[in-house]
Symmetry: C2
Subunit: 176 residues, 2 copies
């Protein structure tokens, strides 16, 4: 596994988290400054009801806009459950491909985390319930009120990525 490079730019890091889908794609942007993670933006991209290729391009285009608008420096995306049939895996894969494509096109590295790793990072238990993840996202980022599930999942992936980076940096520090 590649060890994350510490951010030596002095700039706060902007991280994009993505919860992929073929119909709805959640996104969440956080800013990381030392030990502090701050909420910047989140939302749910609707792929629309046009021809399928157009829907994929809507996802692509919306992710490119989020990256540009918020000066994103790195991205993290949820790996998907595979206890589903090949037809739905194919559809989901196409949506996920569009989102990853947009990140790579903007020059971003894209880290991938399983739902289990996200639960482990946020709740401390890989088998945690989904609503516990949403609760922790709101608590960590100090969010009031409701947030859509796909957006919360995307923020959770971004927070997982930051935590993983800190862990990697610590491991590298101990080794170095």
């Amino acid at each position: 596994m590649a060890v994350a490079k510490p951010n030596t730019s002095g700039l706060p890091r902007r991280v994009l988290g993505i919860d992929p889908g073929s119909v709805k794609t959640g996104f969440g942007v956080i800013e990381v400054n030392g030990a502090n993670a701050q909420y910047i933006s989140s939302g749910v991209i609707q792929a629309g009801s046009g021809p399928f290729a157009e829907r994929l391009h809507n996802i692509y285009q919306a992710i490119v806009e989020v990256i540009t608008q918020h000066g994103i420096m790195e991205a993290a995306i949820e790996e998907v459950f595979l206890n589903r049939n090949a037809q739905s895996a194919l559809k989901l894969g196409q949506g996920r491909g569009a989102a990853m494509c947009a990140c790579a096109g903007a020059g971003l590295a894209v880290s991938e985390y399983t739902p289990r790793a996200v639960k482990q990072a946020l709740v401390g238990r890989g088998g945690a319930e989904k609503d516990q993840v949403g609760y922790m996202v709101r608590a960590i980022l100090g969010l009031k009120g409701d947030i859509k599930e796909d957006a919360a999942d995307a923020l959770a992936v971004a927070l997982t990525h930051v935590q993983q980076d800190r862990f990697n940096a610590r491991v590298a520090g101990q080794r170095g």
Copy 2:
């Protein structure tokens, strides 16, 4: 089903066919002028061995280049076999998503054809062997020598699209 609009521009049509994959993506470009289909270009895009998001973007970028270079006006892509497991369907979906995304981004309509429809269109039998399709592609386009299988499949999808369009136009003509 939408009935294809006849090409009233007077220009020969450039059609891009795509045989999608996560590792190799075949493409084929043909030019259609009345009843005549002419070979323009074909090849196999290698997604490379970099990070996964980068591989997807390589596919995206290569398809954009083919579209731009050859002045493509419409695209056709092969629907995928689903008698495979969810893991491989997901991977294939991601590659296919990148390719479709590139087409939609260039403003192209993307038609989809099953392998069975392609065999039916080219060989006259949905259950035809794969090498019969390659043989017919070479015969119809007057190609000498070998052509890579993925490129031949992509040309077959493009030819299927043209044949389907002619059929739709005839049906519309009979109804009109």
